[in-house]
Amino acid sequence: MDVVTEDISGFFDLNISSSTQSDTTLQNVLDRAAMLGYNTVAVNVTADLDKLETVTSKKKKMRKAAPSAEEAAALTDGFPDPGAITFTAPVCPRTGRRMRVLKRVTLEFTGQGDLSRIGRSTNLKKFDLLAVQPTTQAAFNVACQTLSVDIICVDPASFRGFMLNRKLAGLAARRGVVIELVYAPALSAGSVRRQLLLTALTLTNITIGKNMIVSSGATHEHQLRGPHDVPYVAELMGLSPAAAKASVSTLAKSTVIHAVGRNRTGFCMAQLLPDSGESRSGSAGVTPAKKRKTAAC
């Protein structure tokens, strides 16, 4: 998907679960999102980084089992495959254009495993958005400080004890990493809603309501709410009215752009040497690009 050249304005819902409830399909949820007026949505796959099979252990197993050619082809790096998510992008009724459906992966991690796997993985590169869900204080620190991701999301059910402080939040904001709140679990009354609102209010207190996006986390089309309703839910979660509006539009947009910058660009190095007078061809002094990928891939 060429996000760079396309106009990506409008409303965003950056978390629609790929594993839907049994009585509906992902396609239904996407159709409903288009009907409600979203222009860009992201289909989310969740994986637990600590439970994923590592490449080396898989290779070892294969060596033992004397693999056939098919098995060798099926060797992946253990991360979920974005190609497994299938859908057809519905047409937005307002604009008449196809809805932009991105693919997103959320990695749960405790901060103890080998995090360099994230950067090495080829499967993860195929996802448009990369989110992490830290479950411990150490993981939170790593996610805010160093990890090259787009979104940090918090599971309200397991958010107890560890804290994000304002310094870490500011650091994440400066790096363009946003913190995500989901509203779908809060739609049913009871302790889940209370816990979710408590978590949301705690987080907005620390971040002063800045740099937070609100998305659905919907597993059923019933759980989606319109883009004009979500800002009011966001206000309930402690965001200011302006931040609440930005959380489904401009901030989500900058998250998508950040993801493009992280994922689809490379580094290029050029060195200019002093003119020695012998070779005057322009390209002689410039070393070739060290690592380069075009943004249009």
């Binding site: 009585d23 509906t24 239904n28 409600l36 509203y183 809060a186 739609l187 049913s188 009354a189 809603r193 059923h220 089309e221 019933h222 989606l224 709410r225 319109g226 004009h228 309703d229 979500v230 009011y232 839910v233 206000e235 309930l236």
Partner: protein, 156 residues
């Protein structure tokens, strides 16, 4: 000068899933009670008291599943933040969606008219030819009463 400020909400209360085109069994009173219930869940007694002071369900349409609520300007944020949490109406599962929010009933009326017209066009396009023919016949056979005559206005 306007002393009492109001906000008007145009809501769509659609049943989810395949029954999306089903007729909703609903009346103004049921919507009123469901709205107050969800405000009670989210904002408690204070919220209910604030919202209820000037809450009125002005209009609802079972076919297009649209309702028009009026609430005081002071309470409209309370109501707007509670409405997305509405999941059922008289035991029927529904998904609320705010279509329009206006400060005068006139603007809401204009919006509603446009909305109903587009809904009608949609229904017309999706109706089968036989039914369409029947409807066309029925409309052509309509005999409009002379309004001036029925109201006993002068100049008849």
């Amino acid at each position: 000068m306007v002393r009492l400020k109001h906000r008007y909400f145009v809501l769509e209360l659609a049943p989810p899933g395949e029954k999306a085109h089903a007729r909703l069994v609903v009346n103004e009173d049921a919507i009123y009670r469901a709205v107050l219930e969800v405000v009670d869940q989210i904002h408690g007694d204070y919220g209910v008291a604030t919202v209820r002071s000037r809450l009125i369900v002005k209009y609802c349409n079972a076919v297009t599943r649209v309702a028009l609520l009026r609430v005081s300007h002071a309470a409209h944020r309370l109501l707007a933040s509670a409405l997305p949490f509405m999941t059922s109406l008289e035991g029927q599962p529904i998904t609320p969606r705010t279509l329009y929010m206006g400060a005068t009933i006139m603007h809401c009326f204009r919006f509603l008219k446009r909305h109903q017209e587009s809904h009608l066009e949609e229904m017309w396009a999706s109706a089968d030819p036989h039914r369409r023919h029947q409807m066309r016949e029925a409309i052509m056979a309509l005999k409009l009463p002379n309004i001036a005559e029925t109201r006993g206005l002068p100049g008849v």
